[in-house]
């Protein structure tokens, strides 16, 4: 378990790995390239809604196991944001980084 604040690159890899695992479990095609622009919701989404739920819960659990921080990614704030933090891999990574920063700040 690490007590360091993960870098953005580490978090991006965490999200991409999580997404690859969820896609592997589902029967949906895995895109050749997964990067910050990969869509998680909407018409271009690589996931269906159930797979997105799975990804969010997976990421919460991975973050808790790696960094001992219990984040809630899908709270009222996330749901009410004009630009959903779940729209792309990049947006989700940035949102996790923001929440981790707040947790560390409070801790």
């Amino acid at each position: 378990m690490s007590t360091q604040i993960p870098t953005q690159a580490t978090l991006l890899q965490l999200v991409i790995d999580g997404l690859r695992d969820v896609l592997a479990m589902s029967e949906r095609p895995v895109p050749e390239v997964i990067d910050t622009t990969t869509s998680l919701i909407g018409k271009q989404a690589v996931l269906d809604s159930l797979a997105l739920v799975t990804l969010i819960v997976d990421l919460e659990q991975r973050i808790e196991e790696e960094y001992d921080i219990a984040l809630t990614l899908a709270d009222d704030r996330a749901m009410s944001q004009k630009h959903s933090p779940f729209r792309t891999v990049g947006a989700l990574t940035a949102y996790i980084e923001e929440l981790l920063g707040e947790e560390r700040g409070n801790g």
Partner: protein, 232 residues
């Protein structure tokens, strides 16, 4: 591999009996209550917490995951009641009952399901009561809270089916526990007289329904509420 079972409200009554029941059949059992129990059991671990506290429920489930690496069964037994005429029920009582029975059950369902989905297998059993179908006078808030638990059971059954998790509920009749200690004997007798099978329920009656929901062959049974004694 031994099944890992979480039971809420294990300090006494039905919860304690179920903890003993599952330990007897070789399960690894974790339980919780707000106060520490005055008993111990090999194969049983107690967590002292308030199930209405999201952070504490999450911490308990994380501890189960760390210690056992899985969760197979969650039994939402913890519940409180208050019997009184609706005109005499203070809002604090309402808030307290809804918090434990509805919020607590939901939080445990949610966190348990997050662990269960990892192995694509799980059994969640919630607790209703025959006060729901019998619309018992004096139990408006208690019965309403358990109606919410029934609806939760039916909707979660749909939402969690894709993860291999079934969600069902048992609706006991009056059983000799602290929950009914303050209810007058004649009121209990009235309830018993309106059942198809006219007797008090037993811990074994509850365990029998729980066993049915838990068994692997019941993987096509979900979103169901079974009442004891032919009540409702």
């Amino acid at each position: 591999m031994a099944e890992v079972v979480l039971i809420t409200g294990t300090r006494k009554g039905i919860g304690r009996h179920l903890a003993e029941h599952f330990v007897r059949r070789g399960a690894i059992v974790a339980g919780c209550s707000r106060e520490l129990p005055d008993w111990e059991l090999a194969g049983y671990t107690h967590h002292q917490l308030d199930i209405t506290d999201e952070t504490q429920v999450r911490a308990m489930c994380s501890a189960i995951q760390r210690r056992h690496g899985r969760l197979d069964v969650a039994i939402n037994n913890a519940g409180i009641a208050s019997m009184n005429h609706a005109l005499l029920v203070p809002s604090a009582t309402l808030t307290r009952i809804l918090a434990t029975n509805v919020v607590g059950s939901f939080l445990v369902c949610r966190e348990a399901a997050k662990l269960m989905r990892r192995h694509r297998y799980g059994r969640i059993i919630n607790f209703s009561t025959i006060a729901v179908p019998m619309r018992l006078e004096g139990e408006a808030i208690y019965a309403a809270s358990k109606s919410a638990v029934e609806t939760l059971t039916r909707v979660l059954a749909k939402e969690l089916a894709a993860f291999g998790i079934t969600v069902n509920a048992v609706g006991p009749t009056p059983i000799e526990t602290d929950l009914i200690r303050s209810v007058p004997a004649e009121k209990i007798q009235q309830i018993i007289d309106s059942l198809a099978i006219r007797r008090l329920g037993t811990f074994a009656d509850v365990a029998n329904v729980v066993d049915f929901f838990v068994r692997p062959e019941s993987d096509y049974i979900t979103g169901q509420v079974i009442y004891l004694g032919g009540g409702g």
